[in-house]
Amino acid sequence: MRRNQGCNPLEHEMARRRFLTSTVAGAAGIGLVDTHAQADQLKHQQKRILQVFLQGGVSQLESWDPKPGTVHGGPFQAIPTSVPGIHISELLPNIAQRMHLLSIVRSINIKINDHEQGRQFMEKGRRVGQFPYVGAVASKYLATPNSNLPGYVHVSSRGLSDVAGGAAFLGAKHGQLKLEGIKPPGNLSAPAGIDAVADASRDKLRLQFNQRFADRRSKAMTEAYDASYDQAAGLMERRAMFEGTASKKDLERYGTHDFGRYCLLARTLLENGAACVKVTHHGYDSHAENFNFHLEQLGEFDRPFCMLLDDLETRGMLESTLVVIYSEFGRTPKVNVRYGRDHWGTAWSIALGGCGIQPGAVIGSTNETGTEVADREVDASHLFHTYLQAVGLDSTAEHDLPGRSIPIGDPATESIQELLV
């Protein structure tokens, strides 16, 4: 593989210039408020990201990189897909029919076998340090300015701790709003005794206080504060969005189990202007009974996900929505004594498609028995660049933070160019 130098002199010079520009702005201006330059560029395009996180580490051998009949191949077969030449596991029959909408990266080596570290790397594109998650970056640079929805929403049945909602230095506004399944966020209902009229009247009063306070004062911070109340009000108004409004027909297509409902909620959130929706499907950490559990879990995942993919496509949203199916790592080729597969960051796969992604492609490969990457090795930092460039962001630029010089993606790596449209 071509070694990317990352910091070649030209790039250095450009980064320096970008940096200088932002410092000057920082020194001259108030210096503490986002300028959203990049968001302004993009707002009319309204691109967004759908992440489906298969928590625990889906087995690449039971999904995107099957090796039937080989020593570690497991009991399942590979099936042909809508793209001639691409085979995936029989456990994903619905996705197989839609393979022409997706692509696979089969050559990921993150050199990490730890859930938390793997997840952090996959989200941040950096091995160490406090950097924002993909979703927080999307919220900052892709969110439509007038959207009352938080930019980054995570639907999950149970907690994974995401420090500051994955926002790091981008700030709480871009941290994920974590929804516990389809349960509405906390504190979404006005307190007892305060009906809509009373709520409106007390809020009007709040704004009157604010108006008086704003007189001859810096607006930057007070406006951000006001905006959080608008977002809160927006969420309260859309309470119904979180409550079982799914139609009977939708439930028939997506299924009535949790993940089907999460996918339906994801559709609603994406349609309502969220910049990044992450849906977590738990239960892939199969140290025992890997095969029965993958049957169960992927059986639950395959259809609802495809319904969502279909809906994004038929509603014309797929070309502006990057779809990523990922985990924190894959699973060991070697089957253990419990019919389990263990943690494996050395040679595994993800799938992605939609906005900016070449459809029907397979990037890289593993060796015959799946124990090593054979070709086009990449890690989470390459994927991070790729996701952002797919939605039109310059991942080699620096974050829009006055006074700080922080490259968005890891400057030592680059995107998977051949995967981008």
Partner: protein, 549 residues
């Protein structure tokens, strides 16, 4: 103006003793120069000053009674007296505990040292006004084996003795420099952040490790007698090796190798102790007068604490291309602080006495927004989670009613010194703190940021939802919670409005405000108590309450 600054800088160094620091500071900021005075804001006024000072030095707004008493005071030195009074209050030590805990540990979860013990250590340190260099020395020297000094070891131990984490945070928190990107190569975009700076700092610590006693399971810091720091640039592939060194100061070479390099030899079961410890060189090197970055960093941070932004901002991004807005001012603060034995209380007192601190946060005339950066107008400072929690509890009188109950309970328990104790400010502070701590933790969880702290303000929807609809605030506003609502309910305008403004905003209402609130109450005649609750809620959720102004 540049010329005058230079002059100040030169003269300041020699004659700070004659003129109080706060006067030099105002001059260094620009007071007295025509250009500056033209845009500078007016004095904040006594009410705004008192609220600001209470928030900055005690961590919560004054009670209505405290605010009224200060306004009623006719003496000319009342601001200075209030500063002195608050700086010696038990609340000051608590406020500094919160601030420095957040600065030093960045809201990390507990790992090896209980945060209660660590916070208590910080609070005691500030109560006795421990010099900053001493406090830092203690933190960088304690190895966790001595119960007495163990809490101080939290800075290192709870970073799990991971060299990268410790190195980065030493740079950021004590030197004002985020050297992370210089770990693998000289910083690509920042001249002067060199790989050897990072690795020189790392070399103090890379021989140290987290030791867990196999029997007691207690953790402490062990150290090896060998281990060099080599580094290779991922860009240029150039390699180098470094002994411990602080930025561009000379490296601290190891003494000639002893025949027996260990006092306690490495073994799985014991904590190894070398004859020569690189780690123990760190405290002295860090606080050495030659290490200018150390004093500049703390001066900049204390300035930011009072003024709302650093002279270098972000606080941990000092480099050639992000220079101090007023280099001479920062040197003045740093050098004077060092000359005063790193007396934090002294510096905060002087800063509070400046006109710069006492300016209004309202512009004069048509001054530009950007002038705030030049310290011509007071900046809005978002309340920390702790300030917000305590201030809301103070405004709703939850603090007052809770303390009253606690006093009664203590008397009823019949302890010998109870009557004397309940009037002791320290007893009151600690008892009240323990009683309301859970609320403060809730706010810290929701409004606090885990990880790198910034001066930037952000507000998220879930925070606003918490204020709008959360149970805690609702119960404080309800008449059964804090006493504010019931107290107001017994009053009529204009007394009601006066009491309301003093309780929540620490000031009397303006004429226009009396009209506007009266009007609101008249529009809601059917249920006055609910109208008052709305009023209190709206005020607590207003920008005027959210920011220290």
């Amino acid at each position: 103006m540049l010329i005058s600054l230079t002059m100040i800088a030169c003269s300041a160094a020699s004659s700070v003793a004659d003129t109080p620091l706060h006067k030099w500071v105002d001059m260094a900021v620009g007071m007295g120069s025509v250009g500056f005075e033209n845009v500078a804001a007016d004095d904040a006024g006594d009410a705004a000053f008192a609220r600001r000072l209470y928030l900055d030095l005690t961590g919560m707004i004054p009670s209505a009674e405290q605010a009224r008493r200060f306004l009623a005071d006719r003496s000319t030195d009342k601001r200075a007296r209030l500063i002195d009074q608050l700086l010696t209050s038990p609340q000051y030590a608590r406020r500094m505990q919160y601030e420095f805990d957040t600065m030093l540990m960045e809201r990390r979860p507990d790992k090896h040292i209980k945060s209660d013990e660590w916070r208590n250590y910080l609070r005691q340190s500030f109560a006795q006004n421990k010099p900053w260099d001493q406090l830092v020395s203690e933190m960088l020297t304690a190895d966790g084996t001595d119960e007495k000094t163990r809490p101080a070891a939290r800075f290192l131990l709870d970073r799990e003795m991971k060299t990268d984490t410790m190195t980065r945070d030493l740079g950021r928190i004590f030197l004002g420099r985020d050297l992370q990107c210089a770990q693998c190569h000289d910083h690509p975009n920042i001249e002067g952040y060199l790989q050897r700076h990072y690795h020189g700092l790392a070399a103090f610590l890379n021989r140290s490790y987290l030791f867990t006693d196999p029997k007691s399971k207690q953790t402490s810091i062990g150290e090896k007698a060998e281990g060099a720091v080599k580094f290779t640039s991922v860009f240029t592939s150039e390699s180098d090796e470094t002994a411990p060194r602080l930025l561009d100061l000379p490296p601290i070479e190891d003494p000639p190798a002893a025949e027996e390099p260990y006092t306690v030899k490495p073994d799985k079961k014991v904590r190894s102790v070398p004859v020569y410890s690189r780690r123990l060189q760190l405290a002295a090197a860090m606080t050495d007068p030659a290490n200018v970055a150390f004093r500049r960093n703390i001066a900049n941070r204390l300035w930011a604490l009072m003024m709302g932004r650093g002279i270098v901002e972000p606080l941990d991004m000092w480099h050639a291309e992000n220079p101090p807005l007023r280099p001479a001012l920062l040197d003045l603060l740093a050098d004077t602080l060092a000359d005063h034995d790193y007396d934090i209380r002294y510096l905060l007192r002087e800063l509070a006495l400046t006109k710069t601190y006492q300016q209004s946060s309202q512009y004069n005339g048509d001054a530009e927004d950007s002038d705030a950066a030049h310290f011509a107008v007071s900046m809005l400072k978002p309340l920390s989670p702790e300030q917000l929690a305590w201030s809301m509890m103070q405004a709703t009188s939850l603090t007052e009613t809770t303390l009253k109950d606690l006093k009664a309970k203590h008397l009823a328990a019949g302890t010998e010194d109870a009557e004397k104790q309940i009037d002791d400010p320290l007893w009151q502070e600690e008892t009240l703190h323990n009683a309301l701590k859970a609320h403060v933790d809730t706010f810290a969880g929701l409004f606090g940021v885990v990880g790198i702290q910034t001066s930037r303000f952000d507000a998220s929807a879930d925070q606003a939802l918490f204020v709008r609809n959360g149970a805690a605030l609702q119960s404080w506003i309800a008449s059964g919670g804090g006493q504010l609502t019931s107290r107001l309910n017994m009053l009529q305008p204009p007394d009601l409005i006066d009491e309301f403004y003093f309780s929540v905003f620490s000031r009397p209402p303006a004429i226009g405000e009396i009209h506007f609130v009266t009007q609101f109450l008249e529009q809601q005649p059917d249920d006055r108590e609910s109208a008052i609750r709305k009023l209190v809620w709206a005020a607590l959720s207003s920008a005027e309450f959210r920011f220290n102004h």
